[in-house]
């Protein structure tokens, strides 16, 4: 009872933070389950993928309805993210958990530094409001938003450098499957900077793509017995509730302070994960 409640509460916290900061839940859920509840990393990644699908599907529906997500572009790229995700899902079972922990720590440091840099470069910029769906859904690529915020939006037209975008999509799928994250940290910069997709469309389209990307690798985890329903259920319910609450709180919370706090949490978590990578404990 207590553990279930704690997992729901942890999921709510991850959902609220993620929603307010425009982050994918995976960056928070995997450390929560591994460090907080001592779950094996691979199992935590599988649970995180389920949570990422939940929040992405809810948000993608809103983005599609508002015509912010580009269905054709998203589906073209997600063919390749799905390929990467399946490859990543299979590779994840071959890699030592210490390697996965090291990769996760590196991604956490990257995201923390990106957030900190965005904080300094654009102190007046709050979390992107368009990334917070009104129905409480959780967008994924907010950090990537900040990473590419300096780049100017391109005029509407055809996408550029599609082959490079397809290659980036494969990479995003692999990262998503290995680490249980949405992969927006790869997809949004690729779409915006490489393919010339306007930032808002890139963010929304990335969110649309997360569902099938995470789903492709989640299927591999599921059929290999990698998903534990008892751990997945309270976490998914918590994240879903948290994302809903976060969307309602948007605009009423001092996001700059929250972001600073979050950078500290990410760096602490990265240290913990790096320690696991080194010691295996």
């Amino acid at each position: 009872m207590d553990v279930a409640l704690l997992m729901v509460v942890g999921g709510v916290a991850a959902g609220v933070f993620g929603s307010l900061l425009g982050l994918g839940g995976g960056l928070l859920i995997v450390p929560l389950l591994t460090i907080g509840f001592n779950l094996p990393l691979r199992e935590a990644v599988a649970v995180s993928l389920v949570c990422v699908i939940v929040t992405s599907s809810a948000a993608a529906g809103v983005y599609l309805e508002r015509r912010q997500a580009n269905l054709r572009l998203g589906m073209t790229l997600e063919l390749f993210t799905a390929m990467g995700a399946i490859a990543g899902g299979l590779v994840a079972f071959l890699l030592d958990e210490r390697v996965l922990a090291g990769l996760f720590a590196a991604v956490l440091v990257y995201v923390a530094l990106t957030m900190a840099r965005g904080q300094r470069a654009a102190p007046d910029v709050e979390a992107p409001t368009d990334a917070l769906a009104e129905d409480g859904s959780l967008p994924d690529p907010g950090v990537a938003d900040r990473h590419v915020r300096a780049a100017p939006d391109h005029p509407m037209g055809a996408v550029e450098r599609l082959p490079a975008g397809l290659a980036g999509s494969v990479l995003a799928g692999i990262v998503s499957a290995l680490l249980g994250v949405g992969g927006g940290i790869v997809k949004v910069p690729v779409m915006h900077l490489v393919m010339g997709v306007p930032l808002r469309i890139a963010t929304a389209t990335s969110n649309l793509m997360i569902g099938i990307t995470a789903s492709a690798s989640a299927i591999v985890y599921l059929l290999r017995g990698g998903i534990d329903v008892y751990a997945a259920a309270p976490t998914a319910v918590g994240v879903f509730l948290g994302a809903t609450i976060g969307a309602r709180l948007a605009g009423r919370v001092h996001v700059r302070l929250l972001r600073l706090l979050f950078v500290a949490v990410l760096l602490f978590t990265a240290f913990e994960m790096a320690q696991r990578a080194v010691t295996g404990a």
Partner: protein, 125 residues
């Protein structure tokens, strides 16, 4: 690649609205099942740190009628994982009906890739 336009004026609004509904209904229905299963599970004194039972499609229906929490949970999780593929299937039908053969082919290929994932999971599992 001019066939992928970024101009929202060229999008098929009806298809996108329909797909949005598929995603919303799939997500909320799946989460409702997970929530029911979680309540039953907690009420029965279960702990999330216990090892969960593996998925058994053969007994899923019968066990649901018997009110086994794990099967509500599994059905909800399957719904979550399957909802994006349902959206792609809806897009395939929509594009095909709208005469967009290239996009229909892409949707079909996505489903094929997901199918490859199923096979890979079964073979290596």
């Amino acid at each position: 690649m001019s066939w992928i336009s970024l101009d929202p004026g060229e999008s098929r609004g009806g298809l996108e609205s329909a797909l949005a509904r598929v995603l919303a209904i799939g997500t909320y229905a799946s989460m409702a099942l997970v929530a029911i299963g979680l309540v039953l599970f907690v009420a029965g004194g279960g702990s999330p740190l216990d090892a969960g039972p593996p998925l058994s499609l053969a007994t899923l229906g019968a066990d649901l009628l018997a009110g086994r929490p794990a099967d509500f949970l599994w059905l909800g999780i399957l719904g979550v994982v399957g909802t994006p593929a349902l959206r792609v299937t809806g897009a395939l039908i929509g594009f095909w009906r709208g005469g967009e053969r290239r996009m229909a082919l892409i949707a079909l290929l996505i489903l094929v890739v997901v199918g490859v994932g199923v096979v890979a999971g079964l073979v290596t599992g």
